[in-house]
Each structure stands twice: as structure tokens, then as C-alpha cells.
């Protein structure tokens, strides 16, 4: 077995082709839907910036709209970075603060810890996660409203690492019509971002979902994206069994942890299960492309 098999880099030689491929994907799938525009949520982070840059290359700046949807605890630098992207690209954007809706919803609960059935973790964390999920779904809800209002498809901004690890909210940030970066690992997103010309401040800041103050992806996950991506590339892309990945020198507990995370979050990557009753059931034996004509 070749021990040198490692996550391929996006570099100056393969970037032009990957860029063209992703732009063609956006153009082709938007046009097939009978539309010409996309709308996306811009967080100030590297993933949504990458999707946004690709969309502008594919469709032109007049056909891309960004929504910036801060919550009261969102960091000021996130807003500054999101504005940097829209200004740089010259695209139309709207700012929609979601603090009121979120606070109003949670105001009715007096003691969230007691009300939650998730007793295996402390009330504080339960509330944090519930709030985080609610924010992600609120943003999704606004994006889909704008999708209708602006006759635009919702462009996804989740990368392959977070989709595989299940580090996202079901029907929240993982929801979209099209996702140009969903097959690109976080480590590769950094390389892609360099070639796209995304501002350094966005590339260099530590990855965070920014759902609460000081949140950090890597400290929550317990490993770095670099380590996770190297392991997931072997597990998923190369289909190596976990024991083989471990035999290549990766730490056993991290490999197992990642493999478990991927398995446990499979439900987030699939449509809801439908109980088969009839002779032909949606997505079971009623099988057509989404691009069905």
C-alpha cells in the first residue's frame, strides 16, 4: 500500500480547472432550474466567502445576493469580514439581525435545563446548542424567503469536512439548493481561498461557527481540521478501513472518533426516511435525477 497517499492540494496548476468546473456547476444547475441568480448567507468566514467568490465568477456580480444575518453575540469582526467580501465583489447585500426572533423564542422558557430532555449534558450546553441550532435554522428560513423573493437559488456553504463530521445543523446551515464546495475538505478550502483572492484576514482567522462568543470548531471537535482531513481522505475518498488508517501512523482514538462521528451523522446527509407502503416509493424505487426532464 502506498504510504504517501495524502489529501491532494489545490495549487496553481489544478486551480484553473477546479475553478472552471465549479463555476460551470453553478451556472449549469442554476440555468437548469430556469433561474439565473443565487442568494447565500455570508458569515464572514472562509467557506461562505469561497462560495460567494465562485458564484460571482460563475454568474456575474449582478446575479449574486448576500445575506448577512448577525446575532447579538456575533463577533464584530465577522460582520466586518462579510462586508469586506461584498464590497470587494460589488454585490448587493442585506443585513438582517436575527437577535429579536431568537431572544423572543427563548424568553418563554424560564429554566431551559429542566425543560430539556437532554439530561446527559448540562443545561448550559443544551441551551447553547439549542440556540445555535435555532439561529442556523432562522438563517436558513430567511435565506429561503429571499430565495422566493429574489427568484434565486440558495447556494450552500458547507465544506466536505463539516458535512462528514456532522458539524452543522440539520435543515440549518446544511440546507441549500446547490453546494459548490461540499466535496472540498476544509484544508483544501484554505488553498482554494488563496487562489480565489479572498482577503487574508478571513483566511487566517481560526475557524468558528460563531454561534456563541469564543466558539472554536477545532476545540469543540477535539482535533484539528488538518488531522481530520488527512484521516477522512483515507477513510472516505480512498475507502481505507479504520485499522488500515491507524496502521499508517494516525492516532487510534482520533481515527475511531472521526469514523464514529461520520457514521452517527449519516442522517444529516440524507433525506427523511419514508415508510414503504406502495409499489413505487419516492427515492426508493421511484428513481429520477433532480434534473429530471
Amino acid at each position: 500500500m502506498n504510504h504517501k497517499i495524502e489529501l491532494p492540494k489545490i495549487d496553481e496548476l489544478n486551480f484553473p480547472l477546479i475553478h472552471k468546473h465549479l463555476c460551470n456547476f453553478i451556472k449549469s444547475e442554476v440555468f437548469k432550474a430556469g433561474l439565473k441568480r443565487v442568494v447565500l448567507g455570508l458569515s464572514g468566514g472562509i467557506d461562505s466567502a469561497a462560495s460567494c467568490f465562485l458564484a460571482v465568477s460563475a454568474l456575474g456580480k449582478d446575479n449574486v445576493t448576500a445575506l448577512i444575518m448577525p446575532y447579538e453575540s456575533s463577533s464584530k469582526s465577522s460582520m466586518d469580514d462579510a462586508l469586506k467580501v461584498v464590497n470587494m465583489l460589488g454585490i448587493k447585500y442585506y443585513v438582517s439581525d436575527i437577535s429579536n426572533q431568537i431572544n423572543e423564542y427563548f424568553k418563554i422558557e424560564t429554566d431551559e435545563a429542566e425543560k430539556s430532555e437532554n439530561t446527559y449534558i448540562t443545561g448550559d450546553i443544551v441551551l447553547k446548542l439549542r440556540k445555535g441550532n435555532k439561529m442556523a435554522r432562522e438563517r436558513m428560513s430567511i435565506l429561503y424567503d429571499y430565495s422566493y423573493k429574489l427568484n434565486s437559488l440558495v447556494l450552500g456553504t458547507s465544506n466536505k469536512s463539516e458535512l462528514l463530521l456532522g458539524y452543522g445543523t440539520l435543515y440549518g446551515d446544511t440546507a441549500s439548493a446547490l453546494n459548490p464546495i461540499g466535496d472540498i475538505y476544509k484544508t483544501q478550502i484554505y488553498q482554494l481561498a488563496e487562489h480565489l483572492g479572498i482577503p487574508k484576514t478571513i483566511i487566517n482567522k481560526p475557524p468558528s461557527a460563531d454561534l456563541w462568543e469564543g466558539q472554536s470548531d477545532e476545540s469543540e471537535l477535539g482535533f484539528t481540521y488538518k488531522t481530520a482531513d488527512d484521516i477522512m481522505y483515507l477513510l472516505i475518498d480512498k475507502m481505507y478501513k479504520p485499522e488500515v488508517v491507524i496502521s499508517l501512523g494516525f492516532e487510534e482514538n482520533i481515527v475511531n472518533n472521526i469514523y464514529e462521528r461520520i457514521k452517527k451523522s449519516q442522517y444529516k446527509r440524507r433525506m427523511p426516511l419514508i415508510a414503504k407502503v406502495s409499489e413505487r416509493t419516492i427515492n426508493i424505487d421511484f428513481r429520477y435525477l433532480r434534473d429530471w426532464t
Binding site: K9, D11, N14, L17, R287
Partner: protein, 296 residues
Amino acid sequence: MINKGNSTINVCLAQADPKTGDLEKNIESHIEIISSAKKQGAEIVIFPELSLTGYFLKDSVYDLGVDINSDESAVFEPIYKVSGELNIAVIAGFVEKDADFNFYNSTFCVSNGKLINVHRKVYLPTYGMFEELRYFKQGEGFGVFDLNGVKISVLTCEDAWHLSSSYIAVNKGAHIIIINSASPARGITAGLNKFNSANMWEELLSVIAFYYKCYVIYVNRVGFEDGIGFSGGSCVISPSGNIESKMDYIEAGEIISELNLNLLNNERFKTPILRDENLNLTLKELESIIYNNKFK
């Protein structure tokens, strides 16, 4: 049509982006391409695999099958007509339905308005993202047909990955192997300005052309179907293994390439691998392999 005097043929490689499931629209776009290719001097126009229907058809296969040996072939009449009027050969992919209602991933060749060959894809990939054997029946051989004095064999995509198919084709007398495909772009490598899948194809095509001493014409499609993009890169490889003409990866378009059949004479004289091929030995070995496998 094909000028044997100077032993050249002008071939148009039509790197198309078919509209999935829309036979009518695809017939229209084929005719536009055929007409414009003729104006540029093409004698044969070659389209990709399933060029008239699209590739990832799933249950739509059921709606798109055409029994080309029945009245249903009337749907292709506009292509037959343009081929006859322009005195040009057309090679295009479609979903074939036979009289017993089996479906095939097929490719027809229409020359001067007449159907002269149909190749039913033999090797139907059913692994990874592919599910052809779920819908199609396997073809039963690799034929060679005569197109105005030139011997041609058509292999469809995965057929070519089995080196036995091109071995059969050249030993049956093929001078030109046409490979039509719908190959998805996949895999990247640092320092490589093409998809890994395209790279593998180029190596394979070069091996077929060089070691079997034939022209290889590869016509791959472009465009997207449900997020899967096809990698284009259609090309002509000469019997010396060199790429003679090559199209862009992932952009639709056409090129006309002039094939000089004298090169076959030259290459087969200098390196007579085919002449020296021992078919009896191969047959004996194959029979013994098949016999021994029975007892495994």
C-alpha cells in the same frame, strides 16, 4: 465520400452537452452540429455516449428506449435525412430497445442516410456512482464495420477499460477505434492541470493506439447531471501513440481532425506487433483459463 486516394479522413469530434431526457432537443442540436461540421469539411461526426438522451437516466431509460429496427426509428429520421442530404456519416449514442423489450446503451452509425452499424455497450459499469447493469442488457460483441473502405470499431466508455475489447477489434481488422464516452470528472492531484480520471483515460488511449497500431478517436461529453460533471478532453491519438488533436476539458465544442491513414502503413511496418500476434496461443490459453476456473 472518404477519399482513399490520399488516405485522409476528416473527422469531427462533437464534445456535446446533451439535455438529459430530451430526445427531441438533442436531435435538433445534433443536426446543427452535423450541418456546421459538414461546412468545415467533416466526413464523419462523432458524438459521445448516450448523446441523444443524457447519461444518468435512471428510470427515464424506460421512456427513452427506441427500437431502431422498427417504425420507432422514425424519431431519428431527421438525422438520417441530414446524413443523406449532406453525404456524411454520424455516430451517436441512444437508448436502444429490442423487440423483446430489453434496453441497451447503444451507438448507431448512419452513413449517407442509412443505418450501417449499431454497437451495444458490452461492459456496463455498476459500481461507485454507476448503475448501468440495473437498467441495460449487455451487448454481445465488438464488431468491425466498413465505412467507405475504412474499417471501424466502436467501443463505448467502459468497453475500452477492458483491453480485450480493443484486442478483439484490431484483430478483427479495425483501423480506427472510436471510443464514445460519458466519463465523469473526478479526482485531483497537486501539480496536475487535469482531473485524475482524464489523465487515466489519456494513458489508456495512448496504450491502445500505440500497442495495437490503430487510430483512436475519443469523444467524451461535458456538462452536469445532478452535480456530476463530465470531463470532455476529446482527442485523436495516432498509431504512434501521440495526441494529434485534443479538446478542452469541460467546455462544449467541436473540432475537425484530419486522420492520415498512411500512418497505419508506416507504423504497422516499423513495429509489426499485430502481424506477430499469436491468436491460436491466446485462444489456447483462454480455453485453459476458462476450463481451470470451472474447478476453482
